[in-house]
Symmetry: D2
Subunit: 373 residues, 4 copies
């Protein structure tokens, strides 16, 4: 008979809205046996990207009956402002509606801590370094939260509360979606070997550096620490893996697909020995990689009404028509229908959510110079 | 060899924006032989409902080579504010962003003119009545536009400019879409016989009355006139047909589908002898009717993340699960996944565009008590 | 020594948002001696109209130490969606962001109950009629709330919950503000005598009829009942008074002004013998009345940038310049600066909140054909 | 008799909206005698910041009758999307409504050109360096505009078009406003001496560095060039002055105030010998400076309704109450009214535009560690 793991729930307070009510986020925890890496998974930081909540639902349904080696923390509804912000029929949850700041660009960059840390820990061994650095990241995040109340923006306070949870884990998955999108994975270069345990065909390889996102906030300090030690001639493998998992399209709940995505994540966690779940194995598929610098944003060359024609997720040759743009304002004097082509081989990863665009609206994102992983 | 009909374009000015630039709408006209009813077709009054522009494109491509009996006027981009209003990635064009007023509820109700009109035209014959009443509608609409500039709202001015064009026609089609939607037709009861010439399976039958929409603004005065004359013992068939044609889902351009929708409209125009296009015939299909009073808005019984499961456009039996609602806030203490059922046989016509809803958000609209047409 | 009245708080649940959290509204209650009319006061139904919360604060500070004859119920933050809905820096709380429906147009019209009610209560005396009709309004409102969960929109559910509280009172005050506005009072015609107990110079006199607002929802059924009985030859004074109190401008908290507004309300409640507070007496001022039909909405005759020049709240002669409109798009070829005049004597009551307008944006609202009350 | 200078208008196309209509910006030009620095002034890059248009109106009224030494270019309505974007009653024009990107953070950083430029121009004298570098900035901006159409976002295209005009000038003024704000000036450190020719009491001193704003885009390349030459032992004064002039509060047109602001700008232009206007002299006032690093953003320590109490523009001592925050959700169990104090001497420069805030909303911005200029 399968044992059932206990799940506990805590609601953390991450802010307050105008009528004084608290903003809370539910945090679900499963206790592991203590002999595997700990895991942190969150979803729905962007308001319209709801499918991650369904994946967390399916994960909970599975995890409660699987042997757990490390602790697992699951956070749906990571952004209580974003997921409740409608403007018209759609969820306007990609940025703070007051400031325009992308909710996933407000995490804190702790790489500045490394220099002092290494000076203080010159004689520490690998295990000690790891423990001390993890403690430092947690402590510094808490310090920021404990600073003067007037020093934190709404979004930074939410981000730091989540980051505080994430720094406690060895594995971090931030579940997102694109607008209309194929599945893809943001994978730090050093963790490329792990990418093949996810059932995700297209993998974006991320260099060190920090742009404010959750995955970067988690892997950057550890990666930079590793590089700093390498510069001293010491080998220190990056101790944390963090990914942004792009589950497909926003504004969509698909419970069956969520079950498949949960299986893909369980396959990775099994590989990392966070759980014991040998029946979750990665699917056989051709996986493609693309360096971040080759991830092409293709902005609309004109204003108009768009029929998107490129197949998402699959390689297309140079010269493929990716969209028709209809312009009915000058039907008589201009060409009303334009075919937009891409001039390089590419994998279309996502396209804009709306059929009407201004000149300069991001029409597509493409993998270019992609390669088999 | 096929003759090619001349198309002319005029840009009408319907307002001015804050920086003083004019709001203009392109109007395309084809001249008929003068022996058929005149036709007015507009699209995109609601900003996100763009597919009608593609249908007008396909209509123009066909109409320029077909024999035309009546004059035809085609107006894409009927609302230059709505179709350019983004809020996040989607078009926020269902209502005036300043006032919240639905752009398709601002047309003018001319039924108040009937009483005086009939007193003045007691001896007119049917043809004269028709000509005089049409002239009156046009004149009164123009009078409203010529009134004091301070008396018209932004939306009313746009609506009146369009209505001025529409009252000149005998047949009016207002092309719309739902959020996520099956095709359906708003058809005034008296014009039920015409509904079968459109390739649209589901037909909503509208009583007399005025709610502010374009179709109502066009058919109501004529219908009320007919009823008023009937009360005097005179038979006066309603002289104008007006429909709202719901083309499917918003935020989508599909050129092939637009061609099929254009064919469906041409089939109707051929039947009405506005054009000669005998090769455009309605498809054979079971058509369903539903009275407006039985058009059920189904509001979400709870807040949550929604998986829509009802097949749009097809009859479903009572008890069918129409949605799953996921609630991850209380995974441990409450049921996280709810099945929402409908308790009556129905045809799901449309559902909400977003996967996250508040309690009370309109989840679906259903035909209930539907019947074969 | 002044006795201190007990205040109790209840949080009523009026809905649920997308992440499943409840929407709640705080309700404060003070118990009276049972020998005066009961009072219901709410604020902030429109999100940006926050000053009413400050007035309720100041009322609570006073009421806790005044002799109360009737029960008093005070509801700040009446709309938990509206007051937390930002779009940019301002609160976008005038309408449901999904549907565009004005939050103050969703109350229920119970006048349809009157005919049956009177048939059933033919022999009741005035006191019985009042008690029975009040009970009926409460019961029917509760029935609507207890109907199928799928039958209520988000806004209707909020409105009905508030209406349920309001129907229990004999006096209802709905605290609002205009955009940029002078104080004014919406007063039903039959209650004109009460208007002079408020320190509000400008009074809009409202006919019977129902447009969906809270004040109308409360006074219309009673007014119609009174009229129906009058038609039977019975005298039945309208048993409920309900006002919309417009406190000035939105997006502004002014605690000192709120104290003055609280005093004005206490003066009215003292007059109505809901409280004993003889030291609260109305200020001496010239009060002006205007019939609703003469309340002129003045829409901008052109697009442009507006300098508002009319003094709010004070009579101006015909021909007064009420705005300059700057148009820098055609500085060379057109007049860049336009003076907008009003051609009738008027009292400017409010103007648009923004300095940039489209043609047709509501620029001002004016009392015309006003008279001394 | 005063000569009248010719003004010419050109409308530049900076993009296209969804219905295919062009986005245009009016550009006004006055020709100088060729013996003074050229001037570029723009306004209204942020949609709600309209007062700059009125200042340009007043400048044109004066400049057409003043002796001009350098050419002058004036651009009102610099952002045709922003100034026409309403969401509710207010203008939502601070950021691209699709992406959230601040319209004033999209200018291009040309400092990367300096290294190659200096290698190529080793023997050039100061005048030649200036001419060549200016030509290079213009050419490179044009190159970006001439690149593949798919490579530019909507905002970048607008910004580059404006930057192309600005790089042609020796003096650049970008007219902005704050939300509710005192006048203040963003002044690059090297141009501190110029600050006293504006009638602006509070001056923010900006270091080299680039954050994406127009002023930085104009002064940074020249400042970095000067620093690079200084490192080679050559003296090359920064050849361009660029300021962001903050005119006060947004959503407000005040023509009389605009005339005063125009006079202040004319005083500066007279000092720089771009015009001859000796009767425009700076007002005598105490001017305060503050380094950008000491410009304190003060975020709301709690959610609530705010009464702003700090006097804008004037020094306040440590401990001053800057706001009362009202919280009516827990009137009985918590303190409903909070006094927010600042713990350091400061000059309040601006505060949030709305009276309701979340925890973490930017409440105020303060000069701290300010000093007399």
């Amino acid at each position: 008979m399968t044992a059932v793991n206990a799940i506990t729930q805590e609601n953390i307070v991450v802010g307050e809205i105008a009528n004084g009510l608290p903003l809370t986020i539910p945090v679900y925890r499963l206790k592991g046996q203590g002999n595997g890496p700990s895991v942190y998974i969150q979803a729905n930081m962007h308001g319209a990207e709801v499918q991650g909540n369904a994946v967390i639902y399916q994960l909970l349904e599975q995890l409660k009956q699987l042997p757990l080696l490390g602790d697992i923390t699951l956070v749906p509804y990571a952004n209580p402002i974003g997921c409740n912000q409608k403007s018209g029929e759609f969820t306007l949850g990609r940025f703070d509606p007051i400031t325009g700041t992308n909710w996933n660009r407000m995490y804190h960059d702790h790489t500045g801590l490394i220099e002092c840390f290494l000076q203080a820990q010159q004689n520490a061994d690998e295990q000690e370094l790891k423990a001390q650095f993890k403690a430092l990241l947690i402590e510094q995040t808490q310090n920021l939260l404990d600073g003067p109340a007037y020093s934190l923006t709404t979004g930074k306070r939410i981000a730091l509360n989540l980051q505080l949870l994430a720094h406690q884990a060895d594995i971090v998955l931030d579940l997102h979606t694109g607008p209309i999108s194929a599945k893809h994975l943001y994978c730090p270069l050093y963790a490329k070997a792990s990418a093949r345990y996810f059932d995700i065909q297209n993998v974006l390889l991320i260099p060190e550096g920090f742009g404010g996102a959750m995955d970067e906030a988690c892997f950057s300090p550890w990666w930079q620490l590793s590089l700093a030690l390498a510069a001293q001639g010491r080998t220190f493998p990056v101790a944390v893996e963090a990914f942004t998992v792009e589950l497909g399209s926003q504004e969509k709940i698909d419970l069956a697909e969520a079950k498949r995505d949960a299986a893909s994540i369980l396959s990775y966690l099994n590989y990392k020995e966070a759980i014991v779940a040998g029946n979750y194995q990665p699917a056989t598929m051709t996986r493609y990689g693309c360096y971040l610098k080759d991830y092409l944003a293709f902005y609309s060359p004109m204003g108009g009404m768009v029929e998107y024609t490129a197949p998402l997720g699959e390689p297309i040759p140079a010269g493929t028509t990716i969209a028709h743009i209809l312009r009915m304002e000058q039907y008589l004097s201009e060409q009303p229908l334009h075919s937009i082509k891409i001039d390089t081989p590419a994998i279309p990863i996502l396209h804009f959510a709306s059929a009407s665009v201004n000149q300069g609206t991001e029409l597509y994102k493409f993998f270019t110079h992609y390669f088999e992983l």
